[in-house]
């Protein structure tokens, strides 16, 4: 039966995240962006909402509730607070979710319990590569077999939390099969060179790094899923859907702020929202935000049913990339001169929103 109402459990979760996003995240977002640091207690509070632990399989002590649909609902709400904080808090999912989905019994038992701790457990994944022509299906990072182990070579970009991450999932082209595989790399592995933090237009609060792999030798058993491997296409779909939902969150932040501002800001004796030129912009923004939210929901719903959601995820993400830029730009425009001032959050949302076409692989549901 067609319905657009989340379950009661999802609604409770959303209420919790919304309180966190509005009370905690929003209060800290400006300073975090300016200083480039997310306060550790903010990350901890976000972590303790328990999104990642609840997705860990039951037999390992989690709740086994890995739902892409719940994931997109949560992702929108977190990103509504702040995108950098959302990506940081959810960064461990980049590792934990693929392992939950495709890990061998041994990989799951060894690696996943750490994500059930109350303390934030920094983990990440490395997909993006430096350069202007990134294609996730044409990776330059290569995994080649050598003497019963695997050797990784190549460079990755925008790897969230790389310096602190205790575990990293590295996506590389399997030299033998040509497919994209994921490899588990632990902190301190020889040959992993982490550069200085990336300097980006947005996401200034999120520590991301360029990482080089120079003859990094790992056990053959470190291949995600062992001999069976993993389904990279499905993982990419989960990432696209997560990012689309986060784009909705960023866009909604800008929309709501601009809407409230336009109702307060008086010019020519009336609130500027009473001009159709402004009101229509806001109406268009609302429609486009809802449109992309539904695209993300539908793709997530298909993922949860175990169906191929490649087309849905792709279209949702492509649409989201354009939508968030347009909405965040309009949000800034409605604030006029104030929109350009960093004291107000709308310019940050435009900078953060602009990044979505390049954030491939930086979020996961």
């Amino acid at each position: 039966m067609v319905s657009f109402t989340p379950t009661e459990e999802q609604q409770l979760l959303l209420d919790t995240i919304r309180r966190y996003a509005v009370n905690d995240v929003r209060a800290a977002a400006h300073d975090a962006d300016e200083s480039g640091q997310i306060p550790p207690e903010l990350t901890r509070t976000g972590w303790q909402i328990g999104l990642v632990p609840s997705a860990i399989p039951e037999e390992l002590g989690g709740f086994g509730e890995m739902s892409a649909l719940t994931g997109v609902l949560a992702a929108e709400e977190l990103a509504f607070g702040d995108l950098a904080v959302a990506l940081q808090v959810m960064s461990p999912a980049l590792f934990a979710y693929p392992v939950s989905l495709y890990g061998t019994a041994e990989q799951r038992e060894n690696l996943l319990p750490a994500f059930l701790e109350e303390q934030f457990f920094p983990a990440t994944a490395a997909l993006l590569e430096p350069g202007i022509g990134f294609d996730p299906f044409d990776l330059q990072t290569v995994a080649s077999a050598s003497n019963g182990s695997v050797c990784l070579n190549g460079s990755k970009a925008y790897v969230p939390l790389a310096e602190d991450a205790r575990l990293m999932l590295v996506y590389a082209r399997n030299a033998e099969s040509g497919d994209v595989d994921a490899y588990i790399v632990e902190k301190g592995a020889a040959g992993v060179q982490i550069e200085k933090r990336e300097l980006m237009m947005g996401l200034r609060a999120l520590p991301t790094y360029r990482v080089h792999f120079v003859n990094v030798e790992i056990e053959a058993a470190a291949r995600l899923g062992g001999a069976a491997g993993s389904d990279f296409n499905a993982l990419l779909n989960r990432s696209q859907v997560a990012l689309a939902a986060m784009a909705v969150g960023v866009a909604r932040a800008s929309f709501e702020y601009a809407r409230d501002y336009a109702k307060q800001r008086v010019q020519f004796g009336k609130p500027i929202a009473q001009n159709q030129s402004i009101a229509f912009m806001l109406a268009e923004m609302a429609i486009e935000i809802d449109a992309v939210r539904l695209l993300a929901w539908e793709a997530a719903w298909k993922l949860d049913r175990g169906e191929d959601a490649t087309r849905e995820a792709y279209l949702a993400k492509q649409y989201a990339d354009k939508m968030v830029l347009q909405v965040a730009d309009n949000g800034l425009q409605i604030l006029g001169g104030y929109g350009f001032i960093r004291e107000y959050p709308v310019e940050r949302w435009l900078r953060n929103g602009r990044g979505f076409p390049t954030f491939t692989g930086m979020a996961m549901v």
Binding site: V2, P136, A262, A273, D290, L295, T310, R311, Y319
Partner: protein, 424 residues
């Protein structure tokens, strides 16, 4: 509830059935009916009448059946589970509009008039007025008359009057209505009816506007102009002139309380009709959009162009980008429409979502059809193929049931929590 996009099996089958009807009774005649503007879609009407008639009968039977048999009559109202009635309608219309958007408007049924009767009519009125759409061998049409030469989007300035003649216990209607879909079919070519919105008290503004039922054969009612149009040419669009047209006292729609109300309940009834009809207009736009999109993809495939769903944006050709954009726009419009429909079936207030869906679907699908003409070059512009017709047909969805501008205004008022006065 839980978020779900699952269309029940039996609804899917019904939609497939509509698709079959479209394929069989609409597409083969689409070009001919477009070129011969006022010819009636005989094949389609004959095929659809028995189906729609029986559906209408089933709906009416429910009104009179005791509640134990699933009827609405008597007793405490049951707690209703969400139905699928509007969902069925949406998917059916989408399929039929894929067949031909002009021909679909000739569906022999109560149509928009039926929406109004459902929305504000009493049980007695529903039975008395809708039975004609539930029986017989001859098709019957219903229509809705709101627009006037001086009252388009501003339908509160309606000038058609209804005056009560106590001596004869009749309403006397005077005025002119324009742009009435299936008006001629309803009044001259079948034993149908038209819902006419008229004012009983001009000074009262909106509060004075009430819906009246004018039946075929009423003296003083005549068809004025038969419009010739840009698109949806197979659809019958006429003006109706009321010259001391007399109708029975109980042909004012709604309970006596609603009728006597000095508030604008009658007008709100018209608006409630829009909450149900705007998603349907959106659905019809989706049908035309899908026709154009499918056709373009088919022609591109014949020419060796494939549409990838895994390539990064910078590796796509301009044509692939266009098609992907068309697909994303269509899907977004579909989902917004589906949401407004699901809310309607759940009994939730959906004015905002209905207007959002209508704006988005109409705009996206008009754009898709225009893009299709452009992408197919000289063949897109040629009347040899149907693409140019779809572009002309698609335009109407941005206009009727409230222009996109009016619907955008409604969305804006809702999201800003502004009254009509605050945001004009």
């Amino acid at each position: 509830m839980a978020i779900s996009f699952e269309i029940p099996e039996f609804v899917q089958q019904m939609a497939q059935m509509a698709g079959f009807m479209a394929q069989t009774y609409m597409r083969p005649h689409a070009r001919r009916l477009d070129e011969n503007e006022h010819e009636r879609p005989k094949e389609f009407v004959e095929a659809m009448w028995p189906i729609l008639r029986d559906q209408q009968k089933a709906t009416l039977d429910k009104l009179t059946a005791p509640p134990a048999n699933g009827g609405d009559k008597g007793g405490e109202p049951k707690k209703k589970r969400p139905g699928t009635r509007n969902l069925q309608l949406m998917l059916m219309i989408e399929q039929l509009a894929w067949g031909d958007a002009g021909v679909y408007l000739c569906l022999p049924s109560a149509g928009l008039g039926g929406f109004a009767i459902e929305a504000v009519g009493t049980t007695e009125q529903k039975l008395r007025l809708l039975t004609r759409f539930a029986e017989g061998d001859q098709p019957v049409w219903g229509a809705m008359a709101i627009t006037e030469p001086g009252a388009g989007s501003d339908n509160s300035s309606i000038a058609t009057t209804a005056v009560f003649d106590e001596e004869h216990n009749q309403w006397v209607i005077n005025g002119e209505k324009i742009f009435i879909t299936s008006g001629k079919l309803a009044l001259e070519e079948s034993n149908g009816l038209v819902i006419v919105w008229a004012t009983v008290n001009k000074a009262a503004g909106r509060a004075g506007i009430k819906p009246f039922v004018v039946e075929a054969g009423t003296p003083g009612v005549s068809i004025g102009k038969v419009e010739i149009k840009h698109g949806i040419r197979a659809s019958d669009t006429v003006s109706i002139v009321f010259n001391d047209a007399r109708i029975p006292a109980d042909n004012i729609l709604g309970s006596p309380e609603v009728q006597a109300s000095s508030e604008d309940k009658g007008f709100k009834g018209a608006m409630a009709t829009f909450d149900a009809s705007r998603p349907i207009v959106a659905a019809s736009a989706l049908g035309v959009g899908r026709a154009a999109l499918e056709f373009v993809k088919e022609k591109l495939a014949e020419n060796g162009v494939e549409i990838p769903y895994t390539l990064p944006y910078h590796k796509l050709t301009a044509v692939q980008r266009d098609v992907l954009e068309m697909e994303a726009q269509w899907k977004a419009a579909y989902l917004l429409t589906l949401r407004s429909i699901a809310m309607l079936d759940e009994g939730l207030h959906n004015s905002l979502e209905a207007s959002m869906a209508k704006v988005k679907a109409a705009k996206a699908c008009a754009w898709i059809a225009q893009k299709a003409v452009e992408m197919l070059g000289m063949m897109g512009y040629s009347r040899e193929w149907l693409v140019e017709k779809w572009m002309r047909d698609s335009k109407i969805a941005e206009i009727y049931e409230g222009t996109n501008q009016i619907n955008t205004l409604i969305v804006a008022r809702r999201i800003l929590d502004y009254s009509r006065r605050e945001l004009a």
